[in-house]
């Protein structure tokens, strides 16, 4: 871990032009900056789902837990409970965490777990070669839906707002500087910080032009739930609409882990004494 740019020796296996490169680079820069600010790299843990997004695990020189498809959030929950000094970042996919693992995402938000969730929302199953996901636009023709889907996509920002997330934002893989700032802010936020990152997948779902036409920047983060909700609904992930980028909502709320005793806070003697007392009462 002597390198300064958090780059591991693993091969990068993404397609040329993949938006994941930008997310990778943003993360490296954020880690360097956090270190600057006194957050040692050893206290960061990346929890990865299964999909193209998950490959960040191999590419970064940072602590990591390469979990199952859809299962980043519960792993993050366990890590935070076991050691609240660790900062946990989940890198998840839209299939991973809006389909297979959606309930975990909602419960993470409900609990206001103090973690950061980055969803590489390429709106397609990348690693399994191009099927539709919950955020694919209506009409999307994927390999499992050659005729085009009729369903409407989920709006993850709206869902997260309804679920209790205390930090909600949207990034774009082609706006790397903003993305970097967003990720850093999300990590520094105390509570459940959620970023939906519009990630370009040139191979299966290249929406660059569409995005470039519709994006604009949200100015400042709001604590006003109603305003946030209006922002969330500007675009429904399908039809035309203004696609805001930035922090959509930010508030402070009690953090789940705080209700639990810290790691190993009671000695072995106390535990022994406890069981002895318990048994004595049962004679």
């Amino acid at each position: 871990m002597t390198d300064n740019n958090f780059t591991s020796r693993a091969d990068n296996t993404w397609c040329p032009g993949c938006g994941n490169f930008a997310i990778l680079q943003a993360l490296k820069e954020v880690f360097a900056e956090l270190e600057h600010k006194g957050i040692p790299r050893e206290e960061i843990v990346l929890v990865a789902g299964i999909g193209q997004h998950g490959k960040l695990f191999d590419l970064l020189t940072i602590n990591g837990f390469y979990s199952l498809h859809g299962r980043t959030i519960p792993v993050a929950t366990g890590i935070r409970l076991a050691n609240p000094d660790l900062r946990v970042i989940c890198v998840a996919g839209d299939g991973d965490c809006y389909a297979e693992g959606l309930d975990h995402l909602i419960f993470g938000a409900k609990r206001n777990l103090d973690i950061t969730v980055l969803v590489h929302d390429n709106r397609v199953y990348g690693l399994t070669t191009g099927q539709y996901t919950p955020t694919s636009p209506s009409g999307f023709r994927g390999r499992s839906t050659p005729g085009g889907i009729q369903e409407r996509p989920l709006n993850p920002l709206e869902l997260m707002l309804a679920s209790g997330a205390s930090f909600i934002g949207r990034g774009y893989s082609r706006h790397r500087d903003q993305l970097k700032r967003l990720i850093e802010e999300a990590i520094l936020h105390r509570g459940f910080a959620f970023l939906d990152i519009l990630q370009i997948c040139p191979t299966y779902s290249d929406l660059t032009e569409y995005y470039n036409k519709h994006i604009y920047d949200w100015d400042t983060a709001t604590e006003d739930f109603q305003k946030a909700w209006e922002k969330a609904r500007e675009w429904n992930y399908s039809a035309e609409g203004r696609i805001g980028l930035g922090v959509m909502y930010k508030t402070s709320a009690p953090v789940f882990e705080d209700a639990y005793p810290g790691k190993g806070s009671v000695s072995r003697e106390v535990r022994r004494a406890f069981t002895e007392r318990l048994l004595a009462e049962r004679i």
Partner: protein, 556 residues
Amino acid sequence: MPSVNEGEISILIGGRAGEGISSAGQIIAQLLSSLGYRVYMYLDYPSRIKGGHNFAIIRGADFSVGAVRETVDVLLAMNKETIDLHKKRLSDNGAILYRADTANVAEGIGVDMKGILASEHAPPVMGNTALLGAFVRSAGIEWSRAEQVFRHAIPKEIELNLRVAHRAYEAGTELLTIPPLITKRLPVVTGNEAIGIGLIEGECLLYCGYPMSPTSNLLHFLAVHANHLGMQVLQPESETAAILIALGGAYAGARTAVGTSGGGFCLMTEALGLAGIAELPVVIVLGQRAGPSTGLATYTAQADLQFALGAGQGEFPRLIAAPGDADEARWWTTTCMDLAWKYQLPAILLADKILCEGMYSLDPMEKPTLQVVPLMAGEVEHPYLRYAMTASGISSLKFPPYKGEVIRVNSHVHDEDGITTEDPQVTRAMADKRAKKLQGLQEEIEKMEPVQVLGIRDASTAILCWGSNKGICAEIGRRLGLRVVQPVVLWPFPESCFARAMEGVERWIGVETNETGQLSRLLRQFGYVPEGVVLKYDGRPFAVEELEGELKGRVA
């Protein structure tokens, strides 16, 4: 007038759900225990909260007991239904105590529960206390002894309860004698509590459970005591979440456990394989119940052994232990935790409804608990390799934050550093590494008495059982002159110990609470073929007379 028959006594108490049958049963168990008896209680209840019919059978004996008889010596009836359903079980000179306003039974003694409660202004839920008071008197137990038990066992409104009990005691008559035994008095616990104690002693820091019979009470038990213990007890959104939370905790250094039953275990199987390949320790308490599927939610079976053996895609080491009573439950829970951490793998504690919700005398001294394996601290390693190849297959275990190092665990095939690989050589080498751990684990387990020999230890005819059938088989084995062999560890299968346990056995019969003889199927893999199997699969445990009859016919 009934008295204790060959050093033992059985008491049945029945009534509707919500009338406190379980807690009354526990008090009776503690009363017998206070007289020096070894006790066992079976609790039978349908899947409903109020009404219906619940009953408990408490058996006290001068030997270590783990099963009930069909015949009971005392019938305590909170309602007429109880008498109707269970009168046939009463021994020849058995006694019936019943709630006077619900029935009028010639051969029994009515307890004026209504009157007693009214005179103490006590609520109807204290009806069971009145019945207990009458029982104490009828059994010739001194009031002072009973009072002590009541004080320990009743969590709320103890004084009022005592007044109610005492009134019934005063009004009662002595019907039988239960001579005190001169043995050590042992505490009485449920199997769930024994497992809970095992987890506490195994330094479990994080317990995750989604409610499900028969392990919900383990969740409740730990939740009540969590704060005193610095333990984190959590009910997440699903079993899938539960085990992944546990694995996240293990990665960060916390000893973790989860508890569930078969349906929830299904949802954990994917993460079981993750624990296998990522080499993350976790203890899974799998309380079997009658299936398949939702099945009979509150009844018992031993039908998940084959599932536990094969669960999860691919091949990876796992530990499966099936304790047979509270002592074993406590000890093996702690040991599972220790071994899971030492060998960095998932351990399944295979229990069932009978063990989890039954009550047992616990003999804390039977076996010293293991030296808890310290979390490997040790000197700094650089570069730290989470999956470093070693002779034992066990890599050194560190947790983040680890200064200057990166710690990676991975569900993919990975190299020593935890980085994903698709290389065939590394794939094979890592599989061999994990297999080596299993081999080491097996060797260590062979030194731990993983196979119990009970009954008549040198008999050439044996019965083979596992889990909660231990007690009943041991008892019957002694009586019928049979050896009883009970493998406690089922995987890695302790072949040497088992072979030793079977030395001189010429024929054997399997006894299991399932339909297909799952233990026998496992044993066949190791070359042991039963002469026959006695199976029960109606959700109920064997009663002593029933199994004894079956076996007598077969081994004659």
